[in-house]
C-alpha cells in the first residue's frame, strides 16, 4: 500500500511544515533559533487535549486556545531568553531558550503529571475511500487547517502593513527602524505568530496520533531543525517542501523498514544534504543571505 503510506507521509509532513514555518519566522526576524518552540507546541497540545478529553470542550474551541497558549508562551520565551540578551552573544539565546524549554516540560509534568494524554477523534463518521486509499476525517482536518493557517500567514505577511513590517525587519532591522517601524514590537509580533503556529502544529500532531506526551517537546524541536536545515534556513517555501519530504521519508521508514530507524534515516538524509549542499536544498532569498 505504497500510495496510502505516501498520503500518510504528506499529512505528517503538513504538521512538520507548520512547526518549520514557526522556526523560520523567528530566524527571519532575529537570525536566531527559538529552541523552546517544540515545548511550546507540546504545552499547547497537552492543554488542548486535557480540555477536549476531560472537560468536553469542543475541538474548535480547544484549537483556538492552543493558538493562544502557543502565542503567549512564545511571547514569554522572547522576553525571557531573547529580548535582553546583547546581540554580541550568538550562543546565549540558544542556551536560554533551551532552558525555557526544560522549564516548560517540568512545569507541565508537575502540574498535569507525566501521562500521555488522549486526543479523541473529531470527525468520527467521516471517511473517504478512493479505491484502496483511505483518508479519515481527522486527516482531512489536519490538511485543511494546516493549509488554511499557511495561507492566512502568507496573506498577512504580504498584504498587511504589519506583515510588510515583519518582512522589512527580516530584511534589515536597522533600516526598518529608521523608517519608523517599531522593531522590538515587530519582533514580539513575530514570536507571537510563530508561537501560535507551534501551538497549532502541536495539537494537529496530537490529533494525527490521537495522543500527546509531555516529553516530545525537544523531539519536535529536533525534527523542526532537520526540516529547517534541509529546506534552507529562513527559506519559507523550502521549509514546507522539506517538511513534506521528511514526513514521507519517516512514514515510509516506519512502514517498510522499522520504527527504530525512523529518525536515523532522516538524520542521514540531512547529513548527506549538508555535505552536498551546505546551504540546504533551497537558499534563503537574497538580501538576507549575507547576514546568516
Amino acid at each position: 500500500m505504497l500510495i496510502q503510506q505516501l498520503v500518510n507521509g504528506v499529512l505528517l509532513g503538513t504538521t512538520f511544515a507548520l512547526i518549520a514555518l514557526s522556526f523560520n519566522l523567528v530566524v527571519g526576524a532575529l537570525d536566531r533559533l527559538n529552541f523552546a518552540l517544540g515545548e511550546t507546541a507540546m504545552v499547547s497540545a497537552i492543554c488542548a487535549a486535557l480540555l477536549v478529553s476531560q472537560a468536553d470542550v469542543p475541538f474548535v474551541v480547544a484549537f483556538v486556545l492552543s493558538l493562544l497558549i502557543g502565542a503567549v508562551v512564545a511571547a514569554l520565551t522572547y522576553l525571557l531568553s531573547f529580548r535582553f540578551v546583547s546581540p554580541k552573544y550568538h550562543t546565549a539565546p540558544i542556551l536560554s531558550s533551551l532552558g525555557v524549554g526544560l522549564v516548560i516540560t517540568s512545569l507541565v509534568t508537575r502540574t498535569f503529571g507525566s501521562d500521555q494524554r488522549r486526543v479523541p477523534t473529531v470527525l468520527e463518521d467521516v471517511r473517504f475511500e478512493l479505491g484502496p486509499l483511505v483518508v479519515t476525517g481527522d486527516q482531512l482536518i489536519i490538511l485543511v487547517v494546516a493549509a488554511l493557517l499557511t495561507g492566512l500567514l502568507y496573506v498577512f505577511l504580504n498584504r498587511t502593513t504589519w506583515g510588510t513590517a515583519i518582512r522589512g525587519v527580516s530584511d534589515d532591522a536597522d533600516t526598518s527602524g529608521l523608517l519608523g517601524v517599531p522593531v522590538q514590537r515587530v519582533i514580539l509580533l513575530t514570536f507571537v505568530l510563530s508561537g501560535a503556529l507551534a501551538g497549532a502544529s502541536g495539537l494537529l500532531t496530537g490529533l494525527s496520533f490521537h495522543t500527546v506526551s509531555p516529553f516530545t517537546g525537544f523531539e519536535t524541536t529536533l525534527t523542526a531543525l532537520m526540516v529547517v536545515v534541509l529546506g534552507g534556513l529562513g527559506n519559507i517555501t523550502g521549509g514546507v517542501i522539506a517538511a513534506l519530504l521528511i514526513g514521507v521519508v519517516e512514514t515510509l521508514t516506519v512502514a517498510y523498514v522499522s520504527a527504530t530507524f525512523r529518525d536515523l534515516l532522516v538524520f542521514i538524509l540531512v547529513a548527506v544534504t549538508l555535505v552536498v549542499r551546505p546551504q540546504g536544498l533551497f537558499t534563503r532569498q537574497s538580501g538576507v543571505a549575507a547576514r546568516v
Binding site: 530584511d171 533600516t175 523608517l179 519608523g180 522593531v183 537574497s286
Partner: protein, 241 residues
C-alpha cells in the same frame, strides 16, 4: 525655535570616540551641510542624531523636544526622516512596499495612498517599477527610492547621509537638483557629504567636521569662497570621494 539642535554631543562605539562635543543648529527651512573626510565622524554623528546609538553626553533637541537617545521610530514620529548612507533599500520588498513602509508611523492617517501618489509623481521612474523587487533597481533609482521612502513619513526635517556616494556625475547632479527643489518647497535639510563643493552649492550654511570635532562653520558662500578651506580640508575640486 530651531528645527534641530545638538549641544555638546559626544558619541562613539565601544571605547572609540567618534565625535566630541559637537554643537550644531539647523533652523526651520534651512539647508545645512555637514562636511568632512572619510573617518571624520560623519556617520557617528548621524547615528547619534537618529537614535541608532545613544550619545555618551550632550543633548539632541528636535523642535524644542529633548530626543537624546530616543529610538528611531519615535524620532520619525517627531518629524525626522533619515536617508541612510548606501541607500539601504529593503531589497526583498517591492518598490511600493518600501515606500509604504516609509509611511508606517502614518499608517492610520488615511493619506498614505495620496502620499504614495505624490512620491510616484515626483519619481516617475519608480512608478513603472512599483511592483518590482527593490533589489533590482539601479543605483540611481535606489537613491530616489530611499529619498521617496523618507518623504512618505511627511518629515519636517530630512537627514541625508552621503546621497551622492557611488553615483555617476550625471546622477549626482540629479540628486543635488532634487535636494534643491525639496529645500525650495520649504523642507528643512541636514546634508552630510564628502562632496563639499556640490553640498555647499545647495546649502545655506556649512559645518566642517575634522577628526570628530567641528573645526569650522559659516555661510555656505563664505566657505566656498575660501580657497584655502577647499584645498586643505575638502580635497581640491571637491568631487573626489
Amino acid at each position: 525655535m530651531p528645527a534641530l539642535q545638538l549641544r555638546g554631543v559626544t558619541a562613539g562605539y565601544g571605547r572609540i570616540t567618534g565625535i566630541e562635543k559637537v554643537d550644531l543648529t539647523v533652523a526651520e527651512g534651512e539647508t545645512v551641510a555637514l562636511l568632512g573626510a572619510n573617518g571624520a565622524g560623519k556617520s557617528t554623528f548621524l547615528r547619534a542624531v537618529s537614535g541608532m546609538i545613544r550619545p555618551w553626553s550632550g543633548r539632541v533637541v528636535l523642535y524644542g523636544e529633548d530626543v537624546t537617545g530616543q529610538r528611531s521610530d519615535r524620532l520619525v514620529r517627531a518629524g525626522m526622516a533619515h536617508v541612510p548612507e548606501g541607500r539601504r533599500i529593503l531589497a526583498t520588498l517591492t518598490v511600493e512596499e518600501n515606500l509604504r513602509l516609509g509611511a508606517f508611523t502614518r499608517r492610520r492617517a488615511g493619506t498614505v495612498d495620496e502620499d504614495l501618489e505624490s512620491v510616484l509623481t515626483r519619481f516617475e521612474r519608480l512608478r513603472d517599477r512599483r511592483a518590482q523587487k527593490a533589489g533590482t533597481l539601479s543605483g540611481g533609482e535606489q537613491q530616489m527610492l530611499a529619498i521617496g521612502r523618507a518623504l512618505m513619513s511627511r518629515p519636517r526635517i530630512l537627514l541625508l547621509d552621503e546621497p551622492s556616494l557611488g553615483l555617476s556625475p550625471l546622477l549626482i547632479g540629479e540628486v543635488f537638483d532634487l535636494i534643491k527643489s525639496l529645500a525650495a518647497e520649504g523642507l528643512t535639510i541636514l546634508l552630510v557629504e564628502q562632496n563639499a563643493r556640490q553640498a555647499l552649492g545647495v546649502a545655506d550654511r556649512g559645518y566642517l567636521l575634522t577628526t570628530g570635532s567641528v573645526t569650522l562653520s559659516g555661510a555656505a558662500a563664505d566657505l566656498l569662497a575660501d580657497p584655502g578651506i577647499i584645498e586643505s580640508y575638502l580635497g581640491g575640486r571637491g568631487a573626489r570621494s
